[in-house]
């Protein structure tokens, strides 16, 4: 037995003091009587009519001792140990979407939680509990927790995601604990069929029979005023007839219904079509009742109109740039002479052989800019004329940005006759081409936080614009400078969604299907967030002070709907040991100790009396 605060035991000094006071205070009154004959004889006739009446004399003593002992122990916080009775439990809980499958009013996830709570309740006090939640990500909810109540409470608060199951990361985490202590009792609670498991118990919480269907591979084609939708449906356990419905623009009334006879385990392709002038979204749903509803519908949102932006070219000779960009994008491209330049509502400004007095608050290309401009992120040191045409050197950087911007660019035989020498560059720029270690084509973020591309030579005085690399590089730079905010609207739960943060974008907020609002960090060029639920996510942002909303749909992972998925493995390397640690008695033992103290006190009083009688 140990004590959390042993100094609290000093209070037990009060016990002998109280007993001493009791003994001194309750001395026997001595008195001489004519004869003790009758008193002695009365012992033969003595019987307690009320057994408790004998305690009446020491009730106050008992209460005083109890008070002192309980207060002392409460301060000292005793911990009663029971050798080799406690275990170190590690629960690995599958929180994937399939665990939401319900039967008889409860889900697999709830069933797993109940099993874990049963294990916690049944374990000896002093055991430790570690909980690892597994879905697309692995999270250690608590580690070597000893408080049963807290362990239960935190377990109850663990949500079930709609994502997939990533055993590998969970296995690494569990292995880490197992390596530290070979006596770790690792138990995996999942609905998957785990074929191989070593040094770990697997509890399958799947139900015996479930009505489970899935909808996958949904695609839509809009052409000629007709929307054609294709999908694949599957019934996992039973032959049945599935009823499918097609809804448009979030309306509750379907525009099309169809029935499909499916055989168990055999995927069936389905197609539906409807006439419409335009649409914002369409939804396909299996109308049959299902144990796992997450994979029974799919929504596709039309993002096409949300990505539009405008480009302004400021140049004396904008023709070749305009022609090249027209090939690359449908975006509206305006041109302006340098003396007529005014900042407007553009997503990208391209300055060719002209340096504005100040940078606009948008993405900007500075081509052959020989003047310094504030917040551009670099300084111009004048034009350097070369004696003979020289070849640009392509960057061999492995950075993501460089790789992306140089995609499709061959980068050979680009000759220049003069260039602008730049210095004092910010480190955030990524150099794409250079000459003699001087960066000549580089991209990055300027002092306003806007994307900026700098080309340090006159396109008219180089053969770059005549090469095939020119169009490819322009395409990459255009995509870099004015990317689509969100590239697609259909995702699978567990995927990362990338939001391209352009210069004019502020305040990005993501609303999950559960109504949670997540604010995204816009300091980097690309912000990402992970889809944790099945359903529609709303991405809201301020672009040039105009609020724009993008809807994306997070579908259930196909493998999560499959109730008979097998082939998983969960094996920990090493040799399992079965050493237990010292457990703890229940707090009820405090009362037994109190009782023992009272008995000892009573025994001391008895001994004292006997001592006097000797």
């Amino acid at each position: 037995m140990t004590f959390l605060y042993p100094m609290g035991l000093l209070g037990l000094i009060g016990v002998p003091i109280i007993i001493l006071i009791y003994i001194l205070k309750n001395k026997y009154n001595e008195q001489t009587v004519p004869s003790t004959y009758l008193w002695t004889l009365s012992e033969k006739f003595f019987k307690r009519r009320n057994p408790l009446s004998g305690l009446t004399g020491i009730i106050s003593l008992i209460l005083q001792l109890l008070t002192v002992v309980i207060v002392s122990l409460a301060i000292a916080r005793p911990i009663f140990t029971l050798p080799d009775s406690a275990g170190e439990y590690c629960f690995v809980l599958d929180c994937s979407g399939s665990m939401n499958t319900e039967s008889d009013g409860s889900s697999r996830f709830e069933r797993a939680k109940r099993d874990i709570i049963g294990e916690i309740d049944g374990a000896s006090a002093g055991s430790t509990y570690t909980l690892i939640a597994v879905s697309d990500e692995t999270a250690v909810i608590y580690e070597r927790l000893t408080d049963k109540k807290l362990a239960r409470q935190m377990l109850e608060e663990v949500p079930c995601s709609d994502g997939g199951t990533s055993y590998s990361e969970a296995l690494v985490t569990a292995q880490k604990y197992f390596d530290k202590n070979r006596s770790f009792i690792v138990t995996l609670y999942t609905d998957k069929s785990v074929d191989v498991h070593e040094n770990a118990e697997v509890v399958n919480v799947a139900f015996d029979k479930e009505f489970n269907y899935s909808l996958s591979d949904v695609s839509g084609t809009f052409m000629g005023g007709e929307l054609s939708v294709g999908a694949t449906v599957l019934s996992y356990s039973f032959d049945t007839t599935l009823e499918l419905a097609l809804y448009l623009d979030g309306k509750d009334t379907p525009v099309k219904r169809t029935e499909v006879a499916v055989k168990a385990g055999e995927p069936m392709s389905v197609s539906m079509s409807c006439k419409t002038d335009s649409y914002e979204s369409f939804r396909v749903a299996i109308e049959n009742e299902d144990s796992l509803a997450a994979d029974n519908e799919f929504i596709s949102y039309n993002l096409k109109n949300e990505s539009a932006y405008r480009i302004l070219i400021v140049s004396e000779t904008p023709f070749f740039l305009q022609a090249a960009l027209d090939v690359l994008t449908d975006t509206v491209i305006d041109t302006a002479r340098p003396d007529a330049y005014r900042e407007g509502d553009y997503g990208l400004y391209i300055f060719h052989s002209f340096t504005p007095a100040e940078l606009p608050d948008a993405a900007v290309w500075l081509i052959n800019s020989s003047m310094n401009v504030e917040n551009s992120g670099f300084g111009a040191r004048g034009i350097v004329e070369l004696d003979a045409p020289a070849e640009l050197e392509k960057s061999d950087s492995t950075s993501t940005v460089a790789q992306k911007l140089l995609t499709g660019v061959y980068g050979k035989d680009i000759l220049i006759s003069e260039y602008v020498k730049y210095s004092s560059m910010y480190t955030r720029f990524t150099t794409l081409f250079s000459y003699d270690s001087h960066p000549l084509i580089f991209a990055g973020v300027n002092g306003f936080g806007n994307r900026e591309v700098v080309i340090g030579f006159d396109l008219h005085k180089a053969d770059f614009s005549l090469s095939t690399d020119f169009v490819a590089l322009l395409g990459n730079l255009l995509e870099y400078s004015c990317p689509d905010v969100i590239e697609r609207s259909e995702y699978t739960c567990g995927e990362d969604v990338a939001i391209n943060i352009t210069a004019n974008i502020r305040n990005v907020k993501v609303t999950t299907p559960l109504g949670e609002e997540i604010y995204i960090d816009t300091s980097s060029g690309v912000a990402t967030f992970r889809l944790g639920h099945v359903g529609t996510y709303m991405v809201s942002l301020l672009a040039s002070d105009v609020e724009k909303n993008y809807k994306i749909y997070s579908g259930a992972p196909a493998e999560e709907g499959n109730p008979v998925q097998s082939g998983e493995a969960f094996s920990l390397s090493g040799v399992q040991e079965y050493e237990r640690t010292d457990g703890e008695f229940d707090p009820l033992m405090i009362f037994f100790v109190c009782l023992a103290v009272i008995l000892i006190a009573d025994w001391m009083v008895y001994c004292y009396e006997k001592y006097q009688l000797r």
Partner: protein, 295 residues
């Protein structure tokens, strides 16, 4: 101890009483007590034929006139009774500030002594102390000696213990000649039955008076008590006295009283439980009269 003061009014009332004996009075001297033997008292008993040599003054001449035959009239004999009073002089009788048991014993002894001398009986008073019966009044006859008797009673000191049988049996207790009165609290396992047996065997009329104090009859002690025996310092009783203990004490008291009573009744002896605080008049004109020990 408070000295016994003669209450003349009570004594004069006592003169109207007399003791009732069950056994023959076989005293050596003539007295005031009728015997079953024939003698020379004035109380006619029977006739018998005259035999020459008989006392001619006792011939019934009226019978001779009627039957023409001489008959001698016979009369009962009258003998003197010898009342022997034994007083338990142990410390338990005299314990306490007021020594109420001792006083009561002396009052009763004095009353019986006066009652006896009034009937012209002899009175002997013994003090039982240890295993010895010390005779403090020996063969007192007549009221003249009564004052001296009272003085001797007042001089009794109550101390030590008293073994009743060991003290009484060796003494001359007489035979068939009157009352033997034992005044004690009988709170002992010491043998007192032999004394009663011995006295009854000697055809004595035996009266055992058990005198108990108010505290002994209804103890008021409560709480954690260490009770020391007044007669023996080695004897003690140590207990927390509560209602249950007092209840057991009263059961023990009832047991002891019944034991003495039953034994006396089985031997034809009288038994009387006397609270120490009861006036002697109530005892003599109440309890003893009801028991037909006196009338």
């Amino acid at each position: 101890m408070k000295k016994l003061v003669i209450d003349e009014a009570f004594l004069s009332e006592l003169e109207s009483l007399q003791t009732l004996l069950k056994n023959n009075v076989a005293g050596a001297l003539g007295g005031n007590r009728r015997s079953k033997n024939l003698g020379s008292s004035c109380e006619f008993a029977d006739y018998r034929d005259y035999v020459p040599g008989d006392d001619v003054t006792k011939i019934d001449w009226n019978a001779y006139a009627r039957f023409d035959k001489l008959y001698e009239k016979l009369y009962y004999d009258e003998r003197q009774m010898h009342t022997r009073i034994y007083i338990d002089a142990s410390h338990s009788m005299g314990h306490g500030a007021d020594e109420e048991k001792a006083e009561q014993a002396i009052r009763i002894a004095a009353a019986f002594a006066y009652l006896s001398v009034c009937e012209l009986d002899k009175v002997s008073i013994y003090v039982l102390r240890g295993g010895v019966a010390e005779e403090i009044v020996s063969g007192m006859v007549g009221k003249d000696s009564y004052l001296n008797c009272v003085n001797r009673l007042n001089a009794i000191s109550f101390e030590g213990d008293a073994r009743i049988s060991e003290a009484i049996v060796p003494t001359n207790v007489g035979r068939g000649d009157g009352f033997s009165i034992i005044l004690s609290d009988f709170l002992t396992d010491e043998n007192y039955e032999d004394a009663i047996d011995w006295l009854c065997e000697r055809k004595r009329d035996v009266l055992c008076v058990q005198i108990l104090s108010r505290e002994e009859l209804n103890p008021q002690l409560r709480g954690r008590m260490h009770l020391l025996d007044s007669e023996d310092g080695n004897r003690f009783f140590r207990k927390k006295i509560d209602g249950d203990v007092v209840h057991a004490y009263k059961e023990a008291l009832r047991y002891v009283s019944d034991r003495v009573r039953t034994y006396c009744e089985s031997r034809g002896a009288h038994y009387l439980l006397v609270p120490a605080y009861v006036p002697p008049a109530d005892i003599f004109f109440g309890q003893l009269s009801d028991m037909e020990v006196i009338k």
